[in-house]
């Protein structure tokens, strides 16, 4: 016997809306999203911060620098430019990396900050980062955010927030975009943010070494400011909203920084590269970089602290000559005055003393 059962039709959509779901506005928005891309945008997923080392954690050059030239790097990628009156080089004042472990700002724990300690020569002070490839910010709104505090008093910043699109060697003339602002920096950490529009680079000639310079400080007179200015959580992201600071691990930030600058800090022993003896007084070899560089870097060392060691003999300590450099490696040459090397033999590059260094600088 066949039994036919009939049920009334139901509207599934209506039934779903009647469910007592614990979803807020954001949850509803997520459910209403029609594509994975919309959902991606809603939760600000993916890499957002165009600034490298915005948490100020990587400082390969050291932790403090007494200012004596206009352009100063102490924390990787963070460019501090200082001029005395009349665009002359300043003398004195420091830029340094400070430890702020235990400081949680906007729900994000920070480990380090950049500290500016100006003196009376800091008539024009700039703080910026160069974002590689000018086309990274083109025909789009972007938002800059940064945490700042001062050691005492209040610092009123009335400079304009600025983007400078630099089109590289042989490229079009640089384009400046700015918005007026007034920020009152106090002894409490505060997050400041502003939004700019980056003009399109379409039709421009883009040469090698192009970049977008995003300034946090732009021509600020700190010559009569007798305290410190601390900066961290520097973030530049596409769009008109400042989202929470994007944390990246130290290892990630270090690798990103090393595309632009790499320092091997060495204590007595061996550098970690081998070569051959061109003669009894000269050894040569390749110094490979940890990370492929943005462009062929400028090579420098701490001075006459290097020697070649070959089959039990060690040459006198001298400086390294760098013969040829690519984005991958540089070719070193060490010439000893005591001619103790075995001609045609192998050598390893050694270093005497502590705190020596070799650097490869491909910063923008």
């Amino acid at each position: 016997m066949t039994v036919t059962v009939t049920q009334p039709s139901i509207n599934v959509r209506e039934k779903l809306t009647e469910l007592d779901k614990p979803t807020g506005i954001a949850g509803e928005a997520m459910l209403r999203a029609e594509t994975p891309q919309e959902q991606f945008n809603l939760i600000n997923a993916g890499r957002r911060n165009l600034i490298i080392n915005g948490g100020m954690g990587v400082a390969q050059r050291g932790t403090s620098l007494t200012v004596s030239t206009a352009i100063n790097y102490i924390i990787d990628r963070q460019k501090v430019t200082v001029y005395d009156t009349g665009f002359t080089n300043p003398s004195g004042g420091t830029t340094s990396q400070i430890d702020i472990r235990g400081t949680t700002l906007g729900g994000v724990p920070f480990t380090n900050a950049l500290r500016l300690t100006p003196n009376s020569a800091w008539a024009l002070t700039y703080f910026a980062q160069h974002i590689e490839d000018v086309s990274t910010l083109s025909d789009t709104h972007f938002t800059v955010s940064v945490w700042m505090r001062v050691g005492s008093g209040t610092l009123s910043l009335t400079d304009d927030a600025r983007l400078t699109q630099v089109f590289g060697s042989g490229g079009s003339t640089a384009v400046n975009t700015a918005v007026d602002r007034r920020l009152d920096v106090t002894t409490e950490w505060q997050r400041f943010s502003w939004t700019l529009y980056a003009p399109s680079v379409s039709g421009k000639t883009i040469g090698s070494g192009s970049y977008s310079q995003v300034n946090v400080l732009n021509s600020v007179d700190l010559s009569s400011f007798s305290s410190t200015l601390d900066i961290t959580g520097f973030q530049v992201e596409l769009g008109k909203v400042a989202t929470p600071f994007e944390h990246r691990s130290y290892g990630e930030e270090l690798a990103l920084c090393q595309r632009y600058y790499e320092r091997w800090t060495l204590d007595g022993g061996f550098v970690g590269t081998a070569g051959y003896n061109e003669s009894t007084s000269n050894a040569r070899g390749m110094f490979p970089f940890t990370v492929t560089k943005r462009t062929a870097p400028t090579m420098a060392t701490s001075g006459a602290h290097f020697h070649a060691t070959s089959t039990g003999t060690t040459g006198s300590s001298v400086d390294i000559s760098w013969l040829f450099t690519t984005i991958h490696a540089s070719r070193w040459s060490v010439t000893n005055s005591n001619s103790t090397l075995v001609d045609g033999g192998a050598s390893i590059l050694g270093v005497s003393g502590n705190g020596r260094w070799i650097e490869a600088d491909a910063e923008l």
Binding site: G170, T173, T295, W322, F324
Partner: protein, 177 residues
């Protein structure tokens, strides 16, 4: 002071004696650009020995491009109207896009109408009056002072700067603009 450092394999770089830097001959390297700037500014004084021809040529090209960019900015500034004089209205006849048949010439002709192509701008007031308060005596009556309109002052200064740039620009650069 710089000099060229050459390896036996033909590789070259620039050695900066001041900073103990070995600088690759790479336009994307910022120190290389600083070498070009030094050559532009100081000429042979910054180099130990002769400046290599290719390096001098790169410096010349950079200087030419800088001067060209500055010249274009300056001429654009000078092309702006003088705020003290204002700007006269300019009108011209333009086709409306419609055509009529001319029975005399037996041809279709454009219908023309007058269009304002440059709007008039009144000159700014040559002077402005401001009240000056005594710093020594806060109770003293303010004194009225008449000065040149700051808008004019700024305009004159910017035009003078632009004209100086134009005057200093070499003729080959002007010809390329």
């Amino acid at each position: 002071m710089f000099n060229i450092n050459t390896s036996e394999l033909g590789g070259k770089n620039i050695f900066c004696q001041t900073h103990n830097h070995y600088i690759p001959l790479d336009p994307a390297n910022r120190h290389y650009q600083e070498v070009l700037d030094a050559i532009i500014l100081e000429g042979a004084d910054c180099f130990d020995g002769d400046i290599p021809e290719d390096l001098q040529a790169a410096a010349d090209t950079k200087q030419f491009n800088q001067q060209l960019a500055d010249y274009r900015v300056a001429t654009a500034r000078l092309a702006q109207y003088i705020v003290a004089d204002g700007r006269a209205e300019v009108r011209e006849m333009q086709p409306t896009g419609e055509q009529v048949f001319n029975e005399e010439t037996m041809e279709m002709e454009d219908v023309m109408h007058e269009v304002i192509t440059v709007t008039a701008i009144e000159p700014v007031e040559p002077t402005v009056t401001r009240m000056v308060y005594s710093e020594d005596d806060p109770m003293a009556e303010p004194v009225e002072e008449t000065i040149e309109n700051p808008v004019i002052t700024t305009d004159v200064a910017e035009r003078a700067e632009a004209q100086a740039t134009v005057d200093a620009t070499p003729q080959p650069v002007k010809d390329a603009a």
